[in-house]
């Protein structure tokens, strides 16, 4: 029985296990000089295989593994596949950049894979211990990845800041866990949720949830727990930023989903208001800070803060919807950010690092395609029609209006207008100004093809969104 269970669990856990072992392999061949050059291809290959395995092992019904400490259902599989895909794009695009910064090494990629696995574990965990381990696995590897570029001052600084603050966050989460454990005598998440069916919400329960979600807010970089984000964006090597901006967000969205899905706490007024106002505040802070930024990455970071605020609003609206709105927003935001940062990575993978917004001057005359891709990405982030960003914002607003929170909807919308301004600023530098830095070379059809995947899908999904909505609705029902 137990063996059977263990076997089943293992069989369902193959992709992660494979990836894990490949990470070791990558680490090993990284230190052996002749094989060093295969690191990248090996990483890509193993990720592809893992992705394939994930598809192969896909099953409709929900499976609990390692006696309910891990869960595998449509949602987890979907988000895992998404993570794999994003991860692939990131490592493919980042090669040239890393080569220039000579960061390509076994440990780099193995750490990256470990971070990915951490996130995958967060996604599929159903037990607080496993969840904690997943969080720590990803964050530990990310600390070291950020600091990996030993020569630069700022990356060290970014690392230390991220390190300290995110440990505070984990500690808060753990604190919340401990109380939950105390109340429910269980470390299994859905047991914790179902606990409320028999008993009503105690203040301690509420507090622990708030502690946990402050931790989540930190991971999403929702104001006022956002300060680490811009520094990390600026300090870390771009591929790492790319990773931090995307995959952990998805993971922590699933985390939030696990904790809130069919959980009465969501209807507790204090809690939902907490989420709501945190979100609004974050939108305010994010946009206000982003407006004055001179550096592109910091601007993106603050726009990320604003978007995380939107994500929280979306989570709030899950009161009478299910989480599909939030999920859609998270996915939209993640892939647009990935696209944006990947394009920046691609552009600055030469002698010249693209740091300031004004460095985009006259990009369009250099390469029309890249600038158009970047424009699409930015417009999507701003939520202009013809991009899925519009639907993301639209759904949130729709939900708000349906809950008769029109004032809040209007306020939020006005902040998006501020947001629009700083995205347009980048666009105008790309298209309206002239004189692009000659050090920058934008070529390589192979890269351009990869880069254009996301923007085109952005447009495509805008034109035919129905299936996406239905799919999300079904998996998160």
């Amino acid at each position: 029985m137990t063996f059977n269970n263990a076997f089943l669990s293992l069989s369902n856990f193959i992709p992660e296990i494979f990836l894990f072992s490949m990470a070791m392999v990558v680490l090993l061949i990284g230190i052996t000089n002749p094989l060093k050059k295969y690191v990248v291809s090996l990483t890509i290959g193993s990720t592809l295989i893992a992705l394939f395995l994930c598809f192969w092992g896909y099953t409709e019904e929900t499976v609990f593994m390692f006696n309910t400490s891990l869960i595998k259902d449509n949602a987890t599989e979907f988000f895992k596949i998404l993570c794999y895909g994003i991860f692939l794009i990131q490592i493919i695009v980042s090669q040239k950049y890393l080569k220039n910064k000579n960061l390509i090494s076994g440990e780099f990629y193995s750490l990256l894979i470990f971070a990915l696995i951490g996130c995958l574990i967060i996604i599929s965990s159903n037990n607080l211990i496993v969840l904690f381990l997943g969080i720590e696995l990803s964050s530990l590897s990310l600390y070291s990845l950020i600091a990996l570029n030993r020569t630069s001052l700022i990356s060290g600084e970014a690392a230390i800041k991220y390190f300290v603050l995110s440990i505070i966050a984990s500690a808060l989460i753990l604190f919340g866990f401990s109380y939950l454990y105390g109340i429910t005598n269980s470390l299994v998440i859905n047991e914790i949720s179902t606990y409320l069916l028999s008993n009503e919400i105690s203040n301690l329960y509420l507090f622990s949830y708030i502690l946990i979600f402050i931790g989540v807010a930190f991971k999403f970089a929702v104001a006022p727990f956002h300060m680490w984000l811009p520094d990390v964006y600026e300090g870390a090597p771009l591929p790492i930023t790319n990773f931090i901006a995307s995959i952990p967000k998805i993971a922590f969205f699933v985390f939030a989903y696990r904790f809130l899905n069919d959980n009465q706490i969501l209807f507790e007024d204090n809690f939902s208001k907490f989420i709501l106002y945190l979100g609004i505040f974050s939108i305010f802070i994010g946009n206000m800070y982003a407006l004055a930024q001179k550096k592109i990455m910091r601007m993106l970071a603050y726009s990320g803060v604003a978007n995380s605020g939107f994500i929280f609003l979306a989570i709030f609206t899950s009161i009478d919807f299910n989480f599909s709105v939030a999920a859609f927003y998270v996915i939209t935001y993640t892939i647009t950010t990935v696209s944006a940062i990947s394009i920046i990575t691609f552009i600055s993978s030469n002698k010249f690092d693209l740091v300031y917004i004004k460095d985009f001057k006259g990009l369009s005359s250099k390469s029309g395609l890249v600038s158009i891709l970047f424009m699409i990405t930015l417009l999507s982030t701003a939520g202009i029609p013809l991009t899925i960003g519009f639907y993301a914002k639209y759904l949130v607003l729709d939900a708000l209006v349906n809950q008769n929170m029109i004032i809040i909807a209007v306020i939020v919308v006005l902040f998006t207008v501020i947001g629009l301004y700083y995205y347009l600023r980048v666009i105008w530098f790309m298209f309206f100004e002239t004189g692009f830095n000659s050090l920058i070379k934008v070529n390589g059809i192979y890269y351009l093809a990869v880069l254009s995947i996301i923007p085109f899908s952005i447009i495509a999904i805008f034109l035919f969104p129905e299936f996406a909505f239905n799919y999300l609705f079904s998996i998160l029902a």
């Binding site: 029309g368 202009i384 029609p385 607003l397 729709d398 209006v401 209007v410 207008v417 301004y421 105008w428």
Partner: protein, 499 residues
């Protein structure tokens, strides 16, 4: 094919525009391609115009496809007479613009053409969408090509102007979205037809009205929201200004007559006095402002604003008219006046901007103080210019007179003061138009303005066509009037059953 001609009209130019992005080699081929696409679209719109049955009052060429049923958003197209006429205006203006563009020497020609083609398709989409969100999407998306046109090919302050244009109109339109969402949340449908059946409380209607009206008032633009237009016009390239004045302002007006008046008549009728006053301010005050502008484009921009003041006046008089005389005939007169003014202004302003643009192409200045006595140098242009200036000041026999007459008539039926202020435009518009003519066209040729060539054949054709249209519309307005009549009757009924 005739059944989904609307989709054809919308998507043909858009796809062509995207396609043209990838070809940048030969300018001649680009010109031919661009013009032919616009020509095809124009011919299609003529087909539309002919096959539209003007005696039926309901929407025709309807296409209703599931798009996002889960959000009650449908790909719902259809036209009534006003849409048809505006689409026709749109296509003919874009055709002329494409002809004009082929005479210019441009950087990034293919991108320029593609933005215009996109704008063409999207505008047709705006005029034919019957689903609010679809409308909104076209409405918003229309900003992007215009933004690029002004920003990339514009003048010195192009960035300021384009950003102002984009952000300002976006700010307005986003409130529109909220309003639509609100309506949807209560009737769970975005179709215009079901919008017309709504019955909100008066307070709700007032708020909805404010939200929507601001959006369209910025677009038209009405008086306090108008300052983006002169900047946009001054900085935009000639063809950009033409499209802006002839088409984009009409989008706002169309929004009023399609989404505001029939949907929230109670709100509109309880707040109409403000909008009447604003329109009158636009007519008188903005007209006065136009007089001493030194930049020709700015002058024409301000005159456009004051002419659009007439349109909005015609729209918002209807409630007072209905209170005075409980018949809908006066309302129809007023609305017809506005619609006629919209169409006529489309042609007149386009023509004026083309004239100014060609002067600019020759002398690289738009300043009135730098110009004088052009009649000596380029008579053909100058006579066209004089003609269009006269048309601009509403001379009988030109199209602008008809709309103004009807609107003054309607305004007199509500109040003498309105009529008096409205008719003061006869003086004011004459002052700014003819003073402009006196300073630019007449007089001795200023030194340094020699050696410029007169209109070439293509430009002559464009201007001649425009002049001809303006004259025909002025001499035989009844064609359009009877064309629109049923539709306007229908809209009027939609409005008055609710008040």
């Amino acid at each position: 094919m005739i059944n989904n001609i609307l989709s054809l009209l919308i998507w043909l130019p858009i796809i062509a525009g995207l396609f043209i992005l990838f070809y940048k080699k030969d300018d001649k081929i680009l010109n031919i391609f661009n013009i032919s696409i616009n020509l095809i679209v124009f011919i299609l719109s003529i087909l539309l115009l002919n096959n539209y049955d003007q005696n039926s009052s309901n929407f025709q060429f309807v296409e209703n496809i599931d798009w996002i049923p889960s959000l009650n958003i449908y790909y719902f197209l259809g036209v009534d007479a006003i849409s048809v006429l505006l689409i026709f205006l749109n296509t003919i203006i874009f055709l002329l613009v494409s002809l004009y563009n082929s005479t210019l020497n441009l950087k990034k020609r293919n991108q320029y053409y593609s933005s215009f083609l996109l704008a063409n398709g999207l505008t047709i989409g705006v005029f034919s969408a019957l689903d609010a969100i679809l409308f909104y999407i076209f409405f918003e998306a229309l900003l992007i090509p215009m933004f690029l046109i002004i920003g990339i090919w514009g003048g010195v302050n192009r960035i300021y102007a384009s950003i102002k244009f984009f952000v300002y109109t976006f700010l307005g339109s986003i409130l529109l979205l909220i309003a639509f969402l609100y309506i949807n949340s209560s009737i769970s449908s975005f179709s215009v037809l079901s919008f017309y059946d709504t019955s909100f409380s008066i307070v709700e209607q007032e708020w909805l009205f404010i939200a929507m009206a601001i959006a369209f008032a910025i677009k038209i633009p009405m008086f306090p929201f108008h300052t983006w237009l002169p900047d946009a016009h001054v900085e935009a390239p000639t063809s950009g200004s033409v499209v802006l004045a002839a088409i984009l302002l009409k989008v706002g007006a169309y929004g009023f007559i399609r989404y505001v008046l029939p949907v929230v008549p109670l709100g509109a009728s309880s707040l109409d006095i403000f909008f009447i006053i604003l329109s009158l301010i636009a007519i008188v005050y903005v007209g006065l402002v136009a007089i001493t502008q030194d930049d020709m484009k700015k002058l024409i921009a301000y005159s456009s604003i004051s002419h659009m003041g007439f349109v909005t006046l015609g729209f918002f008089l209807i409630f007072k008219l209905f209170d005075n005389t409980n018949t809908n005939s006066d309302i129809v007169v007023s609305l017809s006046g506005s619609m006629y003014q919209i169409i006529s202004h489309g042609f007149v302003s386009a023509a004026l901007f083309i004239c100014v643009g060609s002067i600019y192409d020759r002398y690289k200045t738009k300043k009135i103080s730098d110009l004088s006595g052009l009649l000596n140098q380029m008579p053909v242009y100058s006579w066209f210019f004089v003609f269009f200036a006269l048309a601009n000041c509403g001379l009988p026999g030109t199209s602008s007179f008809v709309g103004e007459l009807l609107i003054i008539l309607a305004s007199f039926k509500t109040s003498f003061i309105y009529a008096f202020l409205a008719s003061s435009t006869l003086i004011i518009s004459a002052v700014y138009s003819l003073w402009l003519v006196k300073r630019v066209i007449y007089g001795e040729l200023k030194a340094g303005l020699e050696n410029s060539i007169d209109a070439n054949f293509l430009e002559k054709t464009i201007l001649f066509v425009l002049a001809l249209i303006i004259l025909i519309l002025g001499i035989y307005p009844d064609y359009l009037m009877s064309y629109m009549n049923m539709t306007l009757q229908n809209i009027t009924n939609n409005i008055i059953i609710k008040i």
